[in-house]
Symmetry: C2
Subunit: 309 residues, 2 copies
């Protein structure tokens, strides 16, 4: 067994516009860094967490990262193993960027690597979902799957769980996190439990179009498919300046624009890195003028999932 | 201008399980045959219709075939042209097999060919939809598009109309038309106008999985995606022995089984032509034992749309 390993796990965009609850993708920035060291004393301990403003629990049973790893060790019948975790959050929490998924995936990937990779990524997925459930109250896979596999992932079904890796478009993803509070639970609660059949038909035309666009590299179709008539009209109310930001991005080179996860982060996709940078800079200034601080991130789609750094 | 042309246009399966209102495919059998002759007297006339049991109107303004062709000629400003149509229905009407679409496509394809192909198939589509609207009271494209283009077609959106040709699986399609009456209008009316969001999410996971399966030739995934939690549970009530037929087909080699269009025809897809034939024969006998007559058809997926014969 190796002494220690340092890994990166990516932030993720879930609920990709027309793909509510079933589609997510990973980005190269931001993400979490995690250092894991083997220890002689059995059990999983959290040594330090940086960048969380003291919000995350250090109790191994309550923290997403350690709880996922504890489940993994139990599954592998390795209660002899001792692991010490130092987590560096390099992304905002509660922002709609899959923060808890990135941490859980980082921990599981690191532990699996230290143990000589006994499980495949697909086999790690249920443990990451367990961690996600601890953090968010539901075990959805649309953040953990792309964080683990990289790229665009389709959660084809939950029962049984089936994840499909879709082709990855060569596009730049611009992320903007406005510093307003949209708890995941609230964002779920305002969604109606029933939708009009005609809207559902529009939505499944769009998701089918989006999947086709990914396989054929048809970025025009990709843009025309990135439309959400069901969730975005409701959730966007919680995000300041949403309509302005969307219109500005779409007029300045974005192929699509939407809410990342349950918000308040918004994402947009671009051919041109310059367009993406220009839009991010302008929107950050626009929000600042309204008295709203924000973080911005720009990267390509992440194709690898977690990596050793 | 040629003197005459004889064409075939295929029957189609619309509302393909999880693809309600957006997905259809064409089959090599059954279909319509149409003979069109140029005439010196301007205008479009129906000379004869066979196989319709006298149900279709001979009035050119009221018949789907001639009305579509009249619209086409008006668009092309060719009121000098005279055309005489002899239609041979080689498929049941009101059966959920896109009978009116096949006829409209046959007429438009024949007229366009006689006139030297002034329009592309994509340009012919609106005229076929107009004919479909005359027959069914709504201008849905999920029968006319596959009848016109062949293969699997996705109606990505209606406004604006966008049709996408998906890859065609090398499978056999078994069709069984039980002789019971399910008018399209009734079949639409029993569908609820609102659906549960969680069911809609399941459905768009399935349609996304199906599209992915078509691009990757993953027939296992194709089978797992051919599920409908929204429309089939309601519409299948109108089809005698539906649950029995579905279970029997799925246990005997079918990758998927569902209602064709708004029924009462049911379709199923197979790797093996022998499995398909065996299932069709058994189900036909099963229905006969219950006192229900049926037609059965077996063919590969049609890849061409209408053809000159």
């Amino acid at each position: 067994m190796k002494e220690s390993i340092k890994v990166f796990a990516p932030a993720t965009v879930a609920n990709v516009v027309c793909g509510f609850d079933i589609l997510g993708f990973a980005v190269n920035e931001p993400g979490d860094e995690l250092l894991m060291k083997s220890a002689t004393k059995p059990g999983v301990r959290i040594i330090s967490i940086e960048g969380d403003e003291g919000k995350l629990p250090l109790d191994p049973q309550k923290n997403t990262v350690s709880a996922s790893v504890i489940s993994l060790l139990r599954h592998l019948r390795r209660d002899d193993v001792g692991l010490e975790i130092s987590l560096t959050k390099k992304m905002p929490m509660g922002s709609g960027l899959g923060s808890s998924s990135a941490s859980a995936v980082a921990g599981l990937f690191a532990a699996n690597e230290l143990l000589g990779s006994p499980l495949s990524k697909m086999e790690l997925l249920p443990f990451a979902m367990e961690g996600e459930a601890l953090a968010c109250g539901h075990g959805h896979a649309d953040n953990v799957a792309p964080a683990l596999f990289g790229g665009f992932t389709l959660i084809k079904s939950y029962e049984p769980l089936e994840v499909i890796a879709l082709p990855v478009p060569k596009l730049f993803c611009a992320l903007l996190y406005p510093h307003v509070d949209v708890p995941t639970r609230d964002a779920r609660q305002i969604i109606r439990s029933k939708v009009l059949l005609k809207d559902a038909v529009t939505q499944w035309g769009n998701i089918a179009g989006l999947v086709s666009a990914l396989y054929t590299n048809d970025y025009g179709l990709l843009g025309r498919s990135l439309k959400d008539v069901i969730v975005e009209p409701i959730r966007s109310i919680l995000i300041p300046e949403f309509d302005y930001m969307k219109a500005y991005a779409m007029e300045n080179g974005a192929l699509g624009f939407g809410i990342s996860g349950s918000g308040p982060t918004v994402f947009s996709l671009y051919h041109s890195v310059d367009d993406a940078q220009k839009v991010l800079t302008s929107l950050q200034k626009h929000l600042a003028d309204k008295g709203i601080k924000s973080n911005i991130y720009l990267s390509e789609i992440n194709e690898t999932g977690p990596t050793v750094i």
